[in-house]
């Protein structure tokens, strides 16, 4: 039971990550391969604030999210001027840089040793410790993310984002400052990834750089594509399915040395099948151009 609840908490965190990346990739059409960078910044900021300065996770989380958004601005400013593949490469580079900083700035992050003993969230002085206590907390933030992203994408602002995805040149000549919109989309996505990072860190109570590799960015991107780019329900479905399916493998009784590579292979197989049978994703309507 404990285990099942744990999977639910992790799924919730991935829903937030997937929704926030979908805003950037699916709605605005910006290929981003560096989402784990913002997740990482959120996790480390809020953990370090709690460990070094005793800041409450409730505050640390917003600090992490804001810092992630700010780094989204710094990294996004030069990047949004790039198009297509070049933007993908730039965001990939950003993912590598943030990972390297987490790994090599030992005096701050303890490098590969990671940060153990991160305090959990507390409510009215009561420390949350088990998965079932984290479920309401995480899902409140899932709901918040869902509402904000839904409102953004169904507003005139979101319509401009979609127009940029469809044809940036046309959007520009219709009077839209597309660089600005792209940057804002990037920052909002980064903000929620920061929140997800902080939730993850305080829930697991231990983080190290290996959770924030480029592979992590790609996993979240897979969830977006799997569920359907530009589809909010798709992000939820994609995140849940890709979190749950590898867990099912545990029950097949394979030794762990085989189970881990099997998981990667299963991901790959699922994606190949999906791209052949349903290129717009499970719930999506938007196809690759």
């Amino acid at each position: 039971m404990e285990y099942l609840l744990h999977i639910l908490v992790i799924a919730g965190i991935y829903i937030i990550l997937t929704l926030s990346l979908n805003l950037i990739v699916g709605f605005t059409g910006l290929p981003s391969l560096g989402h784990a960078a913002f997740y990482c910044i959120g996790a480390y900021t809020s953990s370090l604030l709690a460990l070094r300065l005793g800041v409450s996770p409730w505050l640390g989380m917003w600090a992490g999210a804001l810092l992630a958004a700010a780094s989204g601005l710094i990294i996004g400013y030069p990047s949004v001027r790039l198009k297509g593949d070049y933007l993908a490469l730039a965001t990939f580079g950003m993912g590598v840089i943030v990972y390297s900083i987490a790994k090599n700035w030992v005096s701050l992050t303890r490098g590969p040793l990671g940060l153990p003993g991160i305090p959990g969230f507390s409510v009215f002085g009561y420390q949350l410790s088990s998965p079932w206590m984290y479920i309401p907390l995480v899902y409140v933030f899932v709901l918040l993310t869902l509402i904000v992203i839904h409102r953004i994408t169904s507003s005139p602002f979101g319509r401009v984002l979609k127009a940029i995805r469809e044809d940036e040149t046309a959007a520009q000549s219709l009077g839209k400052n597309t660089s600005r919109y792209k940057l804002l989309s990037f920052m909002v996505g980064a903000f929620f990834a920061g929140i997800a990072g902080s939730l993850y860190a305080h829930y697991i109570t231990f983080i190290d750089p290996s959770s924030f590799t480029v592979m992590e960015s790609i996993t979240v991107l897979l969830m977006v594509i799997f569920g359907g780019m530009g589809s909010i329900s798709g992000s939820i479905v994609g995140a849940v399915i890709l979190v749950v399916i590898p867990e099912l493998l545990r029950f097949v009784g394979l030794p762990s040395s085989i189970a881990a590579p099997m998981r990667q292979m299963l991901y790959g197989l699922l994606l190949v099948l999906l791209m052949l049978k349903r290129p717009q994703g499970l719930m999506g309507t938007y196809r690759f151009k």
């Binding site: 409102r151 507003s155 602002f157 319509r159 000549s173 009077g175």
Partner: protein, 260 residues
């Protein structure tokens, strides 16, 4: 001398791509409420001129003045805000958005398109929404696409996309429309309809500059013709004179034909 009156003045406009002189010292004025045709053989630099005016390309030299204001090399969105809209030779509608959404993107929002008010409900945004919807529907009615409003733009026929692109340009409230081959590849019926629309727009005070290859169209709607060849302006005057001008004939048909 004419600069005070003209809506748009282009002065010594020059654009080079590497060693290629795409536009070479082109100057002209466009008066308010007129239709000017910009014609010339392929590669003459017509689209380049429109791209520079609308801000998609930077000029190498020269000046573009609109409503008395220097707009040379401003970003495209600023130029759009000042009142210039354009359509594209290779149509650029937003295919995976509905016709109505295409129109609404073009309308102006003061608050609704800001990030803050996309999240926070606000009464002003509702008012903007209603006004813009009315405007979008008005222009859809104008081009006759009302019955297609909920269709994805990608599912429209070629001619309908041309009409949508025109309606979308109008929804920006532009005073000057730059139309890049708006009748290319459409059926004769749609072409006739477009011509009527151009005339109606002109009569309502809009100014139009149109790149066109079909000489019947040029004759039918334009008050004035500017002919470009190899990046240079070789003729500027009324349409009936343009087709008799020896330099224009030469540019289109070569020197041999002059003696026929």
């Amino acid at each position: 001398m004419m600069e005070g009156k003209a809506l748009l003045s282009v002065r010594d406009l020059t654009k080079t791509f590497g060693g290629l002189m795409a536009v070479n010292c082109v100057s002209f004025d466009i008066e308010k409420g007129t239709i000017t045709a910009l014609i010339g053989p392929n590669g003459a630099g017509k689209t380049t001129v429109i791209n520079i005016i609308s801000g998609l390309l930077r000029a190498t030299g020269g000046k573009v003045v609109f409503k008395g204001r220097d707009i040379t090399n401003l970003p495209p969105y600023r130029i759009s805000h000042l009142g210039i809209a354009r359509t594209f030779q290779n149509i650029r509608v937003f295919p995976q958005m509905t016709v109505l959404e295409n129109m609404l993107v073009a309308t102006k929002y003061r608050k609704g398109e800001t990030l803050l008010y996309s999240v926070i409900p606000d009464r002003d945004v509702k008012v903007e929404d209603e006004q813009n919807l009315k405007k979008a529907l008005h222009y859809l009615e104008f081009v006759g696409l009302m019955d297609k409003k909920d269709e994805f733009a990608g599912n429209l026929s070629h001619g309908q996309r041309r009409l949508l692109e025109l309606a979308r340009a109008l929804a920006t409230d532009a005073d000057l429309l730059l139309l890049d081959e708006p009748t290319a590849g459409v059926t004769p019926r749609t072409r006739k309809k477009l011509l009527q629309l151009f005339t109606r727009l002109k009569n309502s005070g809009k100014t139009i500059m149109i790149i066109e290859h079909n000489m019947k169209v040029v004759r039918a709607v334009s008050d004035r013709v500017i002919v470009l060849s190899n990046g240079q302006k070789i003729f500027d005057g009324p349409p009936d004179k343009a087709f008799k001008d020896s330099r224009v004939i030469e540019a289109y048909l070569g020197t041999k034909w002059r003696y026929m």
